[in-house]
Symmetry: D2
Subunit: 306 residues, 4 copies
């Protein structure tokens, strides 16, 4: 349970006092503001601020295309047109700021999305809390035998128990020693100098939780979601992406629906794949040998088209 | 006068209907929202949206530094500390979206600031209006004789009159031909096909007005203002930077004050310049020969230090 | 013909003196170095420098995936795998620097690709040459009646002649006045002050040529090529993209082949489009009404699938 | 000692076979290519590739400024001028690619420099080696009492010994368990499934070594060096910055000298600080009270100016 009573009270206070604004307001997003959506065992995402809504996307597009957009009958049609034709700049006109609490190994993957602004909790300045991600037993899976970067079957009970035991023991041991190194007294009360925080942090394993403010625009957020809410993404980052997606759906419902149709639910075909589909549509039976694709490509093609 | 009565009415309508929000609100910025601040003869800047305020900067910094920032007594002190130490990420947590109408030659300089989102009016899709920047006579200056990229004295009256005459005549001629090329009828009413807009636009000179939505974060905006509100910036972009600066001052007054002290009013010294100042503070007289600086550097050094 | 004899001599001199290096060398790209590939009537692209080759892409991927990549039998297979799965970072490990001479209206479109480094000729510092893009008659097309941002039929002879006449006359007039404004003598020899260059440039139409150094990585270059070498791109930028593509093909032949298969020759399907194709593969006849697509979407779908 | 005999042999082989190129060559940088510069106990930096040299900076600047730069007598003067006036784009025309092996907690700080291309070793795909950063005793310092993010005195011997013992024990324990979780056999030889790599990695502490290819341009590299080779940077990243700086000095000696004078050896003054210095130059004695600065600012001011 990641939130203390104090934190809940603080969130409720922030939510209690609406103020008037002339800016674009998304009712759907206002309902999410500040609330913590719990993720994993100690993590969360919280919407701290947002800029724009579906209308802001349309408004920006109409600045670009001038009278040329007048014939598009409505906002939904225009937004779908923009998404379909990879016109990314109108989506960049919306911005969101999140507060995220997440394990370090997830943060390391997340930060590779460079087009974002980040303020992370600094373990040079301050001391990290004793909070570690310990997977639920149903998430403890074996290495996939077909995918170098994936998971296979869930571990059998006794092996899962051994793994959990190791994860917990090592986290506890490392954190105990982190505290002991930082402390200005030894266990027996004798004074010591206390190691610099910037050094002590090196002893902490990658399942410890960190937190940050993360701000990005809607176009880059969609890119993040496409990669991280995908079925091939690691479970521990996917659950964050899914929690964010639930907020985005309420924030910009038209843009999100277009994103689902064209990106999450869509697919990309190579020239070779187009040729195979056309031959099949013409009644021909085409297998891997005649496709010009490698075995790996064919496997991926078949997963969609049979 | 860049705004039509329709536009003024539209702005007043947008300003008439505040809605409640739970987000951070900057009263100072609300007063600017949508209003057109007129710049040059037909241009303007308008704040379309913003995210965050001085408190949002502080809040982001406290996420980073955790308990380590508790000892800084107040928001102003913390913001000054961040600015002084080039901690840019908390300033990136604020965002602003502007609607700008500006001559193309100004737009070409402006767009070189890459860390921003832009939707520009497209002359492939739509037809540009007959609006050209014609400088006020007091802005018609001769080429500087000391600075390759600067202006010198204001042109004498008859020369200024000749320049204005040429600028106006060429703008009118080019726009007349732009219209004639686009038109599906010739001057005498005979039908013609009408040139594609994407081609006809090439006949328009660089003082024609374009417009765009431009969105950036406060850190990058400060960088833009430092370069473009500087005395060495070309007058025609400087007036835009100054109009924006007036809004920023009302939006984030503490951050803007720190920016003025450390960036706009500050200076940078090389190791050589530090050495010269130290010798002077010790009572020594140091001229260019003994400074290790080139003549150009010394001229710039003397401009500040005498 | 954009190159003077002096320029040709300079290029030949630069090409005459190979020096030893330990870096990755692409023989195909060495053959292009410095040579001007002529584009439009006065433009060109020239490769000034490059970093990396196909092997550099593979090498970077193997750093990422470690032993996990060992099972991929060869470089071509790995490069195709990376392209298919949108693993962009290995392609970012190659870099290219071009010298480009191009009309201003093309430059304005080009510069919107933000992830690149640019040094453009400055008309604040220096005087532009009297060189304007005047389209060949077969490029003078009417506005498309179906596409707001496209061209339709080629203009009939007399209309084309009128357009060319206007373009030439206005360019000459504007440039004459540009020179007259800059000059320190009037036509009759009387001295005048001479307008600042930063002001005089505003009189120049958008078909004047500028030039720049443009440097980007291979991933972003592929993105540029996908958009600008596309059949829907404006002809005047497409010819630059095609000239660059010809160099890239010789620089990184394996990566370019993968790009052609997956990007240039590929297509994207929405969830709705996948559903329609599956129904067709199952023998069903599906038209626009039953597709869930708008008329515009359906037209685009039919253009590929019939 | 971070390099195996095999790695040394591979480096020597790569260095044995120079090939001809027409590109700009920096003799100083060729001498560094591929060689590992050892950093910390198991880390290194290696130059894998580079683009450009001092002349490339000058050449790019001359494209921008055209005839306007002719009066600057030589390359050194022009490079100093560019650095002094923050003209960053010519420096962006040089690029470097490094192979770096570094502890994860250093990598986490490093990656915050967003304008770079990175391929990091993936612990989802592959298994990390048993290599941990264990500080030398003289680097084991206490938390600073004056600086929230700094180090104070070196730890006394017995406390240092306790810290080293904890770091070594925890690293060994965590890595043993990492291997045990991954393994498909238990310690007694009984088969088990073996945990997925993407999960097992969460047990590894932040002093484990990772590696990456990192590519950036010279302007952004100078920014990195200014922050990370600074005396206030954490020692463990500073030694990497210093090793890189040694290579840059040989790669672009003129640019590096300008960087040292204007950036590393230079300082920034606020408007308030300028005012104080001017009063001091005029013979006045000014202390903190009369300066308008806070105590913290004054302390930093005094550190430079006494």
């Amino acid at each position: 349970m990641p939130l203390t009573d104090d934190q809940r009270a603080e969130i409720e206070a922030a939510r209690a006092t609406p103020r008037p604004t002339l800016r674009a307001v998304s009712e759907g997003m206002e309902a999410h503001l500040y609330r913590a959506h719990e993720v994993l065992d100690h993590g969360f995402i919280r919407v701290i601020d947002y800029m724009g809504d579906d209308s802001a996307i349309v408004q920006a597009a109409r600045v670009s295309y001038g009278a040329g957009t007048k014939h598009v009958s409505n906002d939904e049609g225009l937004i779908r047109y923009l998404m379909r034709h990879w016109h990314s700049t109108p989506f960049e006109m919306c911005e969101v700021k999140l507060h995220v609490k997440l394990p370090v190994f997830v943060a390391r993957q997340w930060i590779r999305h460079r087009t974002a602004n980040v303020n992370e909790y600094s373990a040079r300045y301050s001391i990290l809390d004793r909070e570690f991600y310990i997977p639920a037993p149903e998430q403890l899976a074996a290495q996939s035998t077909v995918n170098n970067q994936g998971r296979g079957e869930v571990l059998a009970g006794p092996e899962a128990a051994r793994v959990l035991e190791m994860l917990k023991r090592d986290a506890a041991q490392c954190y105990d020693d982190y505290e002991a190194m930082l402390s200005q007294t030894q266990a027996d009360g004798t004074p010591q100098q206390g190691l610099a925080r910037e050094l002590a942090r090196m002893n902490l394993p990658a399942n410890i939780y960190t937190q940050w403010y993360w701000k990005t625009d809607l176009h880059n957020l969609f890119h993040f979601l496409r990669l991280r809410a995908d079925a091939h993404a690691q479970y521990e980052i996917r659950v964050y992406a899914e929690a964010i997606a639930d907020c985005v759906k309420d924030w910009v419902p038209l843009a999100y629906a277009a994103f689902e149709d064209y990106r999450m639910g869509g697919t990309t075909l190579s020239a070779k794949a187009i040729a195979v589909l056309k031959r099949r549509l013409a009644g021909e039976t085409v297998g891997q040998e005649g496709s010009g694709m490698s075995k790996g490509e064919w496997r991926e093609f078949e997963a969609v088209w049979g």
